[in-house]
Symmetry: C2
Subunit: 204 residues, 2 copies
């Protein structure tokens, strides 16, 4: 999918979606961009601009119909198209991610996990199979995932990334604290938890 | 610490630090901003500008002395000042974070964790004590942490945030998929893992 939305706006769409999903009741049938902006501590112009990408139209005076805006955001973020993903590296973080229920809110199904430790192969975590590295090709053929999560130690991450790219993965969320090299047509984003906390620590 | 660095540059400093730490040997004694930029797939001007905030000076022709640049980045990110942090919510993610060794690279020590489940209180994970909610005040007095991690479900996150702010926490890394309200003098940053993967999914 190639669209004109800047990535920074795209990253904010789940924030709006989470907020709108958290509301309920007749009094929240309509919501204005101003109310959303205030609740999230953001500027109203920014909110209106971001939401305009989803092609949901706010109505003068009353604002957005909340359920319509949720549907537009879900549609834009692809929550209604089921997307298979795989996870590589079943250490503590990998286990936590396999158990995490939040992916389903975005239509993402982590179908299988892989780990090089033969003792882990054949186990299940939260109903997800943990497979040996040898089963990787079979899994890719079976599920045709385009998304993957890397949760291996830093030293192993580039090798795993190369394997994923070779197998046709187009989007990678990498938790290893290392910058991965991947072809231009593969989107890689990093979450370095310790670095995030360090940055906060140096801001306070 | 208030400094003039834009947050976006600050967030990139750990990326440089990770890369520089991954190198070794006599052939990497010096490194140029161009070489760093190429290795990380970034623009050279950006790299040079970011690194200038750390007051480490590159030398014409040879570039930076790698160990000096590492030291400057570590100093700027406060890696050498020990910082206590607490974690609230010892579910799968909380357990994984307690076991994660990466915080020590930034001088961060997760001293204790808290969970409302009385069955978890008194246990240890990776040598860290899991305490009941009742022990929170004692822990805050004992360790004077300024940093905290929230790893509780979304519905509990705002209550936990309020408790942390009241206890004097100044920086929060929040994993619950909800926008938290906190006073202006408290820095809150969010990591929504599922949203991150969804954003990647809608870019590919």
């Amino acid at each position: 999918m190639t669209r004109d939305i800047p990535e920074i706006s795209l990253q904010r769409l789940p924030v709006y979606l989470n907020y709108l999903r958290s509301l309920s009741g007749e009094e929240n049938k309509f919501i204005s961009s101003g109310a959303i902006a205030q609740a999230l501590g953001m500027g109203e112009v920014l909110v209106r601009k971001d939401l305009a990408y989803t092609s949901s139209a706010g109505r003068p005076k009353v604002g957005y119909v909340r359920t319509e805006l949720i549907a537009a955001l879900e549609d834009y973020l692809g929550c209604n198209e089921k997307k298979n993903a795989v996870l590589v590296g079943v250490g503590g973080l990998g286990r936590a991610l396999l158990s995490y229920g939040g992916f389903v809110n975005y239509g993402i199904d982590i179908v299988e996990a892989y780990d090089s430790d033969p003792l882990k192969a054949g186990t299940e975590i939260a109903g997800k199979k943990v497979c040996s590295a040898e089963e990787f090709e079979r899994g890719m053929a079976q599920y045709s995932p385009r998304l993957a999560i890397i949760a291996v130690p830093a030293r192993a991450a580039q090798g795993v990334c190369d394997m994923l790219v070779k197998a046709g993965i187009k989007g990678i969320l990498n938790f290893a604290p290392v910058q991965l090299k991947a072809p231009q047509n593969v989107t890689v984003r990093n979450i370095d938890v310790a670095a995030n906390l360090a940055v906060i620590g140096s801001m306070i």
